[in-house]
Amino acid sequence: MSDTLRPPGLDVLVVLLATLGAILVTIQPVTSPLIASSMVLEVTLFATALFLAIRGSAGLAALIQSGVLNVYLSYPLHRVTVAAILLVGRVLLPSALILLTPLVAATLLLGPTLYRGLDVILGMYVAYVFQATLYGSVFLLIAVIVRSQATSGILSVAAYFTYSALQIILVGIGGAVGNDTVRRLGEALSLPNIAYYSYSNMDYAMWQLALVPGLTVVTVLAYLTYMSRRFEVL
């Protein structure tokens, strides 16, 4: 865990993200807590995904290659427990902290403008943490399957960009051919999108709200199952 969050990488990243995020919401008079939190968290999510690909995925592959994971697995702990600790330490905690810091800076800076919508800000934060956890759990699954530091880093970044492009492609195709389900599927691949629709009283379906949490649960279960049953130490 300390390996993932060790200084100065995380510190430099959060200082930059918090500063830029706070600047983003002050160069224009953002009076909506929903818009302010989206503006800050959207750019932070991009940086979080890259951080998870490097520190989460490639970092875990390095543990496998160096034999450190062998030592962890030799402890009198169930493999699922070790896998869950790795998931929390390499994905959940970094995602939560990286996304939280710029949001706190922006909220403190805009003060009373945003205090009236703290529930909305919290809801958007949870949506972004879920989205980052989905990315991170996919990255960990890649790492334990390929077990190579460079390959898992590259494949994680590729998976992230493929997923992001897929959202745009599905929304585009759905709009072009007039297929509402395809368009909604593209929108639903981003939970923050649907959360934004929900808070804006815009049209969305319940399955859209459940898609990313559902995908996250499936990916986490796949990762835990792989680690407990099929993962073989080098």
Partner: protein
């Protein structure tokens, strides 16, 4: 730097990051940040049988719009909760001849303006009634009308001047942002120092309690 940071708890490191961000961003905001006032004016030649369309959209902010029109006896407006510039495309779909100017964005005030000339005076007011309640503007003089409306974030106002009394119509729009505040550089610096002081106190206490403890 790495050695110093490695002696601090994770909470302290993140608090320091917030403190640094507050100072820098408040200075940038003071120099280049949001403005609470925005104005727009345009003089448009209007021939008989044409109407003037004016859209003002609160993109990221909420505030008060004041539209003064010179050279018209009456005007109507409607509040929308979407992009008013889409209305131009919808009216084009009705085969109305429209010449629209490029929208002008005032990013620092979070507002956008656009005007369009539409050939079909009575139809345009009827078309507006399909979108919402059409409200007549207040007459303030012989050929002057005034529209004052409050906009929430994402809302916009569309004003239509169906007929002109003079060859040209002059519109003056002023927009005042409401409900926005941010820390001044002095307040942000004070808050940052307070946060740093709290971090220093907590770290000192932690070390006194457990001298061997260094990292989180």
């Amino acid at each position: 730097m790495s050695r110093v940071l490695s002696h601090l708890t994770l909470t302290s490191r993140l608090t320091i990051a917030v403190a640094v961000a507050l100072v820098i961003s408040s200075i940038v905001a003071d120099l280049y940040g949001a403005r609470l006032e925005s104005t727009y004016s345009n003089t448009v030649p209007l021939s008989p049988g044409t109407s003037l369309f004016l859209g003002v959209a609160g993109l990221t902010s909420s505030g008060k719009v004041k539209i003064e029109v010179e050279g018209a006896s009456n005007a109507y407006y409607v509040k929308l909760s979407g992009d008013p510039f889409m209305l131009v495309q919808q009216l084009r779909a009705l085969n109305l001849n429209i010449s629209a100017s490029r929208p002008q964005f005032d990013l620092r005030a979070g507002v956008a303006y656009a005007v369009a000339i539409i050939q079909a005076s009575p139809v345009i007011v009827q078309a507006l009634s399909l979108l919402g309640e059409v409200i007549p503007a207040v007459q303030t003089g012989g050929s002057n009308v005034l529209i004052e409306v409050n906009l929430a974030t994402g809302e916009s106002v569309v004003a239509v001047i169906p007929t002109a009394l003079e060859p040209t119509i002059k519109v003056n729009v002023s927009y005042t942002v409401e409900g926005y505040s941010r820390l001044t550089p002095l307040q942000a610096t004070t808050l940052s120092f307070t946060l740093l002081l709290i971090v220093a106190s907590l770290e000192t206490l932690r070390r006194r309690r457990s001298p061997a403890s260094t990292t989180s």
